[in-house]
């Protein structure tokens, strides 16, 4: 068999790029995924460029214009009940969402992957124990759990991350476990055992990388949920301390004025939040399409 004659074209231009770049290159074939990627990229740029992009200091009160002023040429999105520029507060607020949400998701993944890998790989009593712990956490009403944690430990960015990790990691663990149960039966895992690789190596190097497809998609969605969670906590007054521009808190503050017909104060941060969440969902859909194809 003259295997030397294999055409070099099997190594196409695309496949020479590193994996993550290739995924982005593939994304252009999914229109919804592109929209999602743009929305997410927009907010990332806002978060990074907040000091230059925001027209005002988010905590400056512009009493010349007054409180709850409607959108105008000076304040594009109007001012809030303390006469602060809503646009600036939204731009600065994106920083908070876009640091806490990825941090919390990352922590949930670290804990969830560890639990899922151990449960799926060892099965037996390890699996039973870990999954029972997960079931107990999952059986609590999520919101109640958040409220209890935040009330007990006080509102802070770190505590939000802890709370989200606590609630989300069992869900991640279940996903990782189901992937591990399937992947551990692959022949390359048997081959790794036969050359004497330790269990941690098999879990992290042989199994986990092959579960990445569904995990990346789930991570995108989960980041969206976490953004909503942060919003809810802020809305309930359990988020960050008041002066910080927090989208949830802004919606909460504007909420009471909606009845009076002054919707802009709540509507603008609400739209910001939903555009970010929708962006992440669309991106997840796009990535799922790609992962199904490859």
């Amino acid at each position: 068999m003259s295997v030397g004659t294999i055409p070099a074209s099997t190594t196409s231009r695309q496949s020479r790029l590193p994996g993550w770049l290739r995924s982005i290159a593939l994304l252009r074939e999914s229109p919804l995924g592109i929209i999602g990627a743009f929305l997410v990229a927009f907010w990332i740029i806002m978060a990074i460029g907040a000091p230059w992009l925001a027209p005002y200091d988010p905590n400056d009160n512009d009493f010349d214009i007054g409180i709850i002023a409607p959108p105008s040429a000076v304040h594009w999105l109007g001012t809030d009940d303390q006469a602060r520029d809503i646009l600036s507060r939204i731009i600065w607020g994106s920083r908070i969402v876009l640091t806490i949400a990825p941090m919390a998701t990352l922590c949930a993944y670290l804990v969830g992957c560890a639990m899922g890998l151990l449960a799926g790989y060892y099965r037996g009593w390890v699996d039973t124990t870990l999954m029972q712990v997960c079931n107990v956490i999952l059986s609590f009403p999520v919101l109640l759990l958040y409220v209890i944690i935040m009330m007990k430990f006080g509102p802070s960015a770190l505590n939000i991350v802890v709370a989200v990790t606590f609630v989300a990691s069992p869900q991640v663990a279940r996903l990782v476990r189901s992937q591990t149960l399937e992947l551990r039966e692959r022949e390359y895992v048997a081959a790794a055992k036969m050359r004497g690789e330790p269990a941690w190596y098999i879990m992290l190097v042989e199994i986990l990388p092959n579960a990445r497809g569904p995990l990346i998609v789930d991570a995108c969605l989960r980041m969206g949920y976490t953004a909503i969670t942060i919003g809810i906590l802020g809305f309930l007054g359990l988020g960050l301390r008041p002066p910080d521009p927090d989208w949830g808190g802004m919606i909460g503050a504007g909420y009471s004025y909606v009845m009076g017909g002054q919707v802009h104060m709540a509507l603008a941060p609400a739209l910001a939040l939903s555009s970010l969440v929708v962006g992440l969902s669309l991106l997840a859909d796009g990535l799922r399409e790609i992962s199904l194809r490859d």
Binding site: V3, R186, G196
Partner: protein, 692 residues
Amino acid sequence: MTDKDKSAAPVLELDNARISYFTRAGEINVVPGVSFKLAQGEAIGLVGESGCGKSTVAFSIVRYLGGAGRLTGGRILFEGRDMAKMPEAELRQLRGRRLAMVYQDPMSSLNPVIPVGRQLMEVPIVHQGASEADARKRALQMLAEVKLPDAESVFTRYPHQLSGGQQQRVVIAMALMAEPSLLIMDEPTTGLDVTVEAAVLDLVRDLRRKHNTALVFISHNLGTVVRVCDRIGVMYAGDLVEEGPIGSVFRNPRHPYTRGLLECLPVLGTDKRTSPLVPIPGQVPPALHRPQGCIFASRCKHVDPARCTAGRIDTIAIPGESTHRVQCVRALELPFWQRPQVAAVAAAADEAEAELVLDIDHLRKFYETSTSIFSGSESYDIKALNDVSMSAKRGMTLAVVGESGCGKSTLAKVLTGLEKATDGKVALDGSDIGGIRVEDRTSAVKGKLQMVFQNPESTLNPSHSVGFAIERSLRRLKSLTGASMREQARRLMEIVKLPADFVDRKPRQLSGGQKQRVAIARALAGDPDVMVADEPVSALDVSVQAAIINLLLELQSTRAATMLFISHDLSVVRYLADRVAVMYLGKIVEFGSVDDVFSPPYHPYTEALLSAVPIADPDRQQKRILLEGAMPSPRDVPKGCPFATRCPRKLGDICDTTPPPEHRTNSGHRIACHIPMEQLRSVEPIISTAAE
């Protein structure tokens, strides 16, 4: 129309049918133009390797190509009507009534929540407006016709309560319910065990004759086509390169590709000492880049560049064999075909002198299962391996054959330490490793015994490069690092005949055969004394399979390694093994040298297996032995002989109650059977060559 006219008009006619798939990359023309005719009651087998377009052609007949596929030229006529122009509603009427399909996986055609009888009744009720009572009567009749025992009870069962073979029979019954004039079967027996396959194939052949149904039978296995069909069509890269009656195509194939296929196929009765397998060099060109002229030219040993690559190759009829057509310019110039033969090479080094490398002695592996957590006390054993003994000397190939569930893969797991033996001994170079899990073996022992797996798609980790797997093995088993490790990895790639720079590729850039070569290189990294190969070629196309078998044999002889070759394919085993163990339900029923096992005296199970193997040679006569029922569950193994429940030579109660004694001969041949050896000796050989 009189009866005579009717039989003369073909049921199906493909006239230069051109089929393309439309993708983002544009039109991919997978079938440039296929023509053949099928008369009433005739059966054609379409064969070819994966991706050759045989299924595409079959699906295009019923217009089942999905959104992306389309007939882009030529005509497909069914009973004289153009299928491409038929309105959808009419087509629906036709499917299921005049046209029926049977797929590889019977569960894809059966509704899991409706009893099978009800599903059968729907056919006459929907298509012919039959009454309930009438439909029921006909469904029962049909179930009896596909030889399902106790049709009444099968009628009320759900699909999951039937075995795979029974499910496929139900699907065939359903397909034949409406008395279609054309039946299309797509690999209908590929997932079945060989004894079940044989029964289904015989059934299909008998029924199509009885109902005078035309049949398009798609298969990758030439042997099954010989069993069922009158005609064969060989497809290559979308072209029907040769088509004709089974007899004339197999006796003197005219197309070099057909010849190549037959030359890389081990046929029961041939072995490595007399008939070497000759793989076809190169690879199928991708459909996007079809070369000018003959598409096989780049791999053909008879190629005449001036004529073969000039322009379109016409299909010519062979003079004197009017229905035998070939798409090759040199078809009439080629000499009469003969299976490649070499003078018998003396058997590998005198067996008696070689040292014993692997000695398996009374090996047992039981799995404990408990029925449920609520009745935890009620646990029972699955006897996957029940008293297995066999041995192999250095440089020898020991083959283990048997149907799925016989315990052959469990044996591989115990040997490699992925599972721990319950009892018994596995001696590797004299030291017992049977009870030691792989984690507890020293790297020297791990290196001595390595494995090649079955599935090329899962044998390499898709996340890592090809070289990674080999380098890790070298690091773990040989303690090599850095440059010497990389150097050795490249050398191993060359040993398995892959370009050394493949180490940087990802598995998905490799073909199935190439992946399997990498897996072999990985196994060789530990410099093994024993290589366990669990069905290493069963997922590969025949031409690739031949190359891998040759590679394994070559490596084994150059490295004097012992190979334990696990397979369900008796033709391959006959070809490459020195010793054979036939397993049934966790027990070895017969063990001996390959010549002893494949000739009388046989164990009745070996005899039945041999009679079931589809042989791609119409001149070899095979006695037919039909086995009743299926292998019992390893949960309740029969008390006496494991094969007693299906044995056609069963003596009587003694077989059910007493484990059979083991007959031994001087040559080391062992048969576990109650039938006296003299009587087993008098059995006629199963396979004989027809007198010319």
